[in-house]
């Protein structure tokens, strides 16, 4: 007989840490972006991805709202904006 013993790889994705956000969320302005990909590099959740060229988004299902991406962007193209009720409904 075996009990809890091992975990499957990448199974943490079940845990939607986006529900942690209470104050702010990242907004990618896509105005001044130079495609340096520093935001993708330094997100501790790894939840920033590139769609089309230079179009970056943070996965709000996982984003904890830490603000590292806004702070590191050399062109200030990422800002932290307030969470609000309408956006809360959308994230589910």
């Amino acid at each position: 007989m075996f009990g809890p013993l091992i975990s499957k790889p990448g199974s943490s994705r079940k845990n939607k840490t986006g529900s942690w956000r209470t104050e702010v969320r990242p907004k990618f302005l896509q105005k001044n972006c130079i495609g340096c990909k520093l935001c993708m590099l330094i997100c501790p959740e790894g939840c920033i991805s590139e769609g089309e060229s230079k179009v970056f988004t943070g996965d709000l299902l996982f984003c904890k709202g830490c603000g590292l991406c806004a702070q590191v962007c050399p062109k200030k193209d990422v800002i932290m904006e307030k969470e609000d009720a309408a956006q809360d409904k959308a994230k589910g």
């Binding site: 809890p4 975990s7 499957k8 790889p9 990448g10 199974s11 943490s12 994705r13 079940k14 845990n15 939607k16 840490t17 942690w20 990909k37 993708m40 590099l41 330094i42 997100c43 501790p44 959740e45 790894g46 939840c47 590139e50 996965d59 996982f62 904890k64 709202g65 830490c66 603000g67 590292l68 806004a70 702070q71 590191v72 932290m80």
Partner: protein
Amino acid sequence: MNKDLFVAGHTACAGCGQSLAARLVINAAGPNTIVVNNTGCLEVFSTKFPESAWEVPFLHSLFENAAAVASGVESALKYQGRKDSVNVIAQGGDGGTADIGLQALSGMLERGHDILYVCYDNEAYMNTGVQRSGLTPFKTNTSTTPLGAKSTGNPRPKKPLPEIMLAHGIPYMATSSVGFPQDLQRKVKKAFSIKGPKFIQVHVPCPLGWRYEPQDTLKVAKIAVDTGLFPLLEYENGKLIGVRKIKPLPVEEYLKTQARFRHLLNNPGEIANIQSLANANIEKYNLRIEEVTAEKTVQ
């Protein structure tokens, strides 16, 4: 970008320097890597059953034995004739590496196992509540070196872990900081290009334990390096082959970013003590950017 090998859904605090560093390290190491991890924040927030953030094989045993367990994994790979195609990382926090784990680490280095050891240094036993470790800096306010009528914080300087590692005569030893993510990844890749025991210490600010706003993790890490308090060094076969040159900031610029040092700010004597620690590093490793000579600046 290659597939992330340390994925979202882990329960690290928002802005945790260690979670970012762990992600950078394993992405640099690649999918043919086995990770052996000591007990600590990283292991706890990334492998709570049944959820694991690791896309690579991951093994956790106890608090102080990752280096020994990794030695066993490496030996098994050698026995199977597979060691050349598989990287082995042993990793842990400052407690599991420099204090309770120092014996196992020393044995692993001395025996010459082909393993990279990564120490995530957030300068206290964070997972158990910010108690002081051997790598806690001088005069830090921690839960076991609290402030009081008879105390101004941790009475001892940081244990010289890089020097202890170097004394083992290993082929590669580097210090790095999560504030310089590309440098950290370069060092991991460099380490895996060398056979034998390797060691990288990563300075990882902790928003909770150091007490600053989460978004400042990279900023705090950079300032630490720029004061000379945490120099970025790279050694190959015992020779210093690279440093990050700095235009030194006064240590006060660093101390004022974190509430764990707040008590020092109105104490010029203590600040001077800490400044002399930074100055000693600047002197010893020749960290100051020279205006005239064309010395290589390591990014």
